[in-house]
Subunit: 192 residues, 2 copies
DNA sequence: TGGACAACCGGACATCGTGTCCGTATCGTA
DNA sequence: TACGATACGGACACGATGTCCGGTTGTCCA
């Protein structure tokens, strides 16, 4: 084991402050303009120089996943809550719906999963997949969900729905497609 | 009815030649670098100025859909062939598989559907949807596909699968997800 | 308290991509 | 051949990304 960082100092207060401001502004900007929002514009609105932005968040993905971190955390928590409050099937359906809505609203979520390799968004993906595994696993053990479906595949197809329906305002279509998928998920027997 | 175009002249030979060269080069470029390939680079490799490129294809989408036009045409033809050769269900499955493969290989296809409004890629979308409507309609009349599914929704979810699985090389996942969807499509009765 | 050093800031800059504009060259026709 | 319509080409304006460095500001210690 090599020498570890020698008592690494905490970041300076102004650095910490700027980081917070950037996150707040970035959240707004991504909500307004989608995941392609201009980074210089974000820096400008946060009242900092571009250098500051790029120092804190070297890439767009880094900023995106930082912004998304708490949404992801929220989704994780909601998975647990729904799992406790509803039946397995209802919980799975409700949570996937929440996930879909979030993924569509800021397409950045789905975008962050896709445009990056596993490096940056790995944590997010990990957390989401774990939550899905929990809910799906319960349904599978209960016998109401087909056993030959992985949490990763489930997440991926919902991401697909989000990506495919992100642009047009037809939210109904996204819901219909999710319903279709859920139908398939619960199909454990042969075709009727 | 107002006066129609007065005997509109055919394009000049050099214009026609340049258009061809651009299409050839663009096809290569999109295959190599994906749908975000640089347009100036395409112009350069085709030996024409940027102005020429933008005159023939005012937007990236215009170029993309021109490049895709023959692939789309191929898909349309294959739909008819499969429809004649196989059972309705097999034809539908086989064609959706072909569509998925094409959409993934050059993500540009799916990209063209998404990044544009209905304006530019309308023809492509129209053709694809029509082919899907044909195959799906037959299955629905046969009674092997759920009646509450529109061709548009079907296409959209396959596009979603393509978008979501375009980056990572796991072609198996795309197939698994398509199978899942097909399962749902054929589910005409209550859950087993 | 105050001074020195590291950490941090800000914005200019280099680079790349898109799409427009217009002077010039070339094609088609009389 | 000569003329007008058509098309060409590249400079240009604009906007975005990411880097770099001189100046500034916190932090720590004497």
């Amino acid at each position: 084991m090599v020498g570890r960082a020698p008592a690494e100092r905490p970041p300076r207060t102004d650095a910490r402050r700027n980081r917070e401001r950037l996150l707040v502004v970035a959240r707004e900007a991504f909500d307004e303009a989608g995941p392609d929002a201009s980074l210089v514009e974000i820096a400008r609105r946060a009242g900092v120089g571009q250098g500051t932005l790029y120092r804190h968040f070297p890439t767009r993905a880094a900023l995106l996943s930082a912004v998304l971190a708490d949404r992801i955390e929220t989704l994780r928590r909601q998975a647990a809550e729904l799992s406790a409050a509803l039946s397995t099937d209802e919980a799975l359906a409700a949570w996937l719906h929440l996930f879909l809505v979030h993924a569509r609203v800021n397409q950045g979520l789905a975008g962050a999963f896709m445009t990056e390799g596993p490096e940056t968004a790995a944590d997010c993906h990990q957390t989401i997949t774990a939550a899905a595994a929990d809910l799906l696993g319960r349904a599978q053990r209960t016998g109401t969900a087909r056993p030959d479906l992985s949490p990763d595949d489930l997440i991926q197809i919902v991401v697909g729905i989000a990506l495919a329906t992100a642009r047009d305002g037809d939210a109904g279509q996204a819901d219909r497609l999710l319903t279709l998928v859920l139908d398939a998920v619960h199909r454990t027997g042969p075709v009727a």
